[in-house]
């Protein structure tokens, strides 16, 4: 216990230098936490998707390809498919906001069968089904904007030459923030017809829930076989693979982020090592006195290493804390980019930041610590004599 007190006093001996070191570790690890938070959110999404027995059907050419609305029925009639809905990205803007939240044109009749984990009061769902301009949205959106059932949500088309005038029929709860609004696919399609839009009757993508995970490969195969010879051949995949596809679109960003993390740790270790070396140089005589009194090498080593680690860990907690606060803040301000709360993506990713801090402390402290432990007592004492 005594040793820890001494280490703490040594840290406070030159408070400005310690504080600057802690802050530099803190800010860099905050940055690392934010970057890793981004990786973590992708991981979380992928893992969440892997648990749902859902598949995504899209045109083999990707999002640009068409998927006729009649295919939804074909998917529904496939063996082991429990429910299926069209799912088209509207991407409209709300007032001045370019990307307020996600909006999907879908089938109100079945959308909550495809996502049974979402819950909505039955009367609200009924209202949604019967109101052609009705919509339902994630409770988090409603809370953020102070919207309630009955409010109107005008959305200006960005991809489509048609503006939506929606009325909130219901508010649903979901285990994770979806940041989504669902409205009638028919409403959009009718509107596009009136505008003589060329690409009508397009389901966009089809989301389907499969009754058991064992049959997913068979279902995927039979759907793709069914459409293989049509005008619109399809590519079906699990929701997890679909999520992975988005992750892959970012290419090597993952590797890049990881390497940035490593570079940050490395350059920081130089900063902290320098500050430790400076601290030790000032304390040569003091360490010699400790050793004269009989402090064994191991204890001197432990004290110096402990000081370096304590500084790095203080910076680590500060940095991870700041990073988490930032992510949490982004989550509430811009959930479309940061769809997960810090709690949802905590786990290993946060501990990477703290592990990095501990490694940093060890790397930066080890050389000064060994030098202090090896230092000759008589040479150290001669310094001042």
């Amino acid at each position: 216990m005594k040793t820890f007190k001494y280490i703490w006093r040594n840290i406070r001996r030159n408070p400005i230098r310690s504080l600057l070191t802690i802050l530099s570790v803190g800010f860099s690890l905050a940055l690392m936490t934010v970057l890793y938070g981004f990786l973590a959110s992708q991981e979380t999404w992928k893992n969440g998707a892997a648990q749902a027995n859902r598949i995504v059907v899209m045109n083999i050419q990707g999002f640009s390809g068409k998927l006729p609305i009649s295919s939804v029925d074909d998917v529904r009639s496939t063996k082991s498919v429990a429910a299926a809905v069209p799912f088209a990205w509207f991407g409209g803007s709300y007032q001045d906001e370019q990307m307020p939240f996600a909006q999907f044109a879908t089938d109100p009749e079945y959308v909550f069968n495809v996502w049974p984990e979402y819950s909505i009061p039955p009367e609200q769902l009924e209202a949604f089904k019967t109101n052609r301009q009705g919509c339902v949205l994630d409770r988090r959106i409603a809370e953020r904007r102070g919207w309630k059932v009955g409010d109107r949500v005008p959305l200006k088309g960005a991809i489509y030459p048609f503006d939506l005038d929606l009325e909130i029929s219901g508010i649903f709860d979901s285990p994770k923030n979806t940041d989504s609004l669902y409205f009638h696919w028919d409403y959009l399609n009718e509107g596009l017809k009136q505008q003589s839009y060329p690409n009508i009757d397009n389901a966009g993508t089809i989301f389907a829930r499969i009754s058991s995970s064992d049959s997913i490969p068979t279902v995927i195969k039979s759907i793709d076989d069914k459409f293989g010879s049509s005008d619109t051949p399809t590519r079906s995949q699990t929701e997890a693979a679909f999520a992975q596809m988005f992750v892959d679109m970012l290419g090597n960003v993952q590797v890049l982020i990881r390497n940035i993390g490593l570079a940050v740790v490395f350059s920081l270790s130089l900063v902290t090592a320098n500050s430790m070396a400076m601290a030790m140089r000032e304390r040569v005589t003091e360490i010699a006195v400790l050793k004269a009194i009989g402090f064994p090498r191991s204890r001197v080593l432990f004290m110096v290493l402990g000081e370096a680690c304590a500084i790095a860990m203080l910076g680590g907690f500060l940095g991870v804390g700041m990073g988490c606060l930032f992510l949490q803040g982004m989550n509430s301000l811009m959930p479309q980019f940061f769809p997960f709360t810090v709690l949802e993506m905590l786990g290993p990713w946060i501990s990477y930041g703290l592990i990095a801090a501990a490694v940093l402390g060890l790397i930066s402290g080890i050389v000064p610590a060994i030098r202090a432990a090896q230092m000759s007592v008589i040479d150290g004492l001669r310094r001042l004599a």
């Binding site: 001996r13 005589t285 003091e286 400790l290 004269a292 009194i293 009989g294 402090f295 004492l381 001042l384």
Partner: protein, 242 residues
């Protein structure tokens, strides 16, 4: 603080030579030193700068090992001990007093004195008793919560002495303990050391340039270019007159 077996031999220095090696240069510092101290002895080492006083003191205190010859202190042959063994041995048998006091600036007087005890297996309570007793001997129990920078030079040196005696070592080594003090504080320190020698029967080796300081010792040795040149043994009567 125990003081049994009066007269037992504490320090034996036999045919000791010491050389330093710096970049292929051999610097001979001590040659053929012989010396013996019994428990309760008080030796003053004098001599010009560079004559090897500190070097000899370091050998006796187990901070360094002789190039040849034997240094046996408190039954331990220091020349044949490993560094780890020496560290352990020092913590049990030697108390250090330096010219620059060398207190740890971030620790209070109390904590500085407690420092050597943290190497022992004493309980917190026992440590507390020892620290307070040591501070009482040097008359600074009312200053125990002060940091070194809040103390005068003389007070700092007294704290350093408390730190040196807190483990009740057999041997005290002091390298110019009054070298940085004004006359009054120096006298206080010398009186304190005299008390430690007479009342607590500590064996003391003190390096000093100050003849007045040396006069307090029971024996005075002069070093000249690494050789012991003369020895003065104080008479008890002279001490008594003081």
């Amino acid at each position: 603080m125990s003081n049994s077996n009066a007269g037992e031999t504490v320090v034996v220095v036999r045919d000791v030579c010491k050389e330093f090696h710096r970049e292929k240069l051999t610097i001979p510092v001590l040659s053929g030193i012989n010396l013996q101290l019994s428990e309760g002895d008080y030796l003053a080492l004098m001599g010009p700068s560079g004559s090897g006083k500190t070097t000899l003191l370091n050998l006796i205190a187990g901070l360094d090992r002789p190039t040849s010859g034997d240094v046996v202190v408190c039954g331990q042959n220091l020349g044949q001990s490993s560094e780890g063994e020496l560290a352990k041995w020092r913590s049990r048998h030697v108390g250090f007093i330096f010219q620059m006091y060398n207190l740890i600036p971030v620790l209070t007087a109390y904590e500085n004195v407690e420092l050597p005890l943290t190497l022992t297996s004493l309980s917190r309570r026992q440590r507390d008793d020892h620290v307070k007793a040591a501070l009482e001997v040097v008359g600074l129990q009312d200053r125990m919560d002060h940091y070194p920078r809040q103390l005068s030079g003389g007070q700092e040196q007294r704290v350093a002495i408390a730190r040196a005696i807190v483990t009740d070592p057999t041997l005290l080594v002091a390298d110019e303990p009054t070298g940085d003090l004004d006359a009054r504080s120096a006298t206080e320190i010398l009186e304190l050391m005299h008390r430690l020698n007479t009342e607590f029967r500590k064996t003391i080796v003190m390096v000093t340039h100050d003849p007045n300081a040396a006069d307090r010792a029971r024996r005075i040795l002069h070093l000249e270019k690494g050789l012991l040149v003369s020895e003065v043994v104080e008479s008890r009567t002279k001490k008594a007159v003081q």
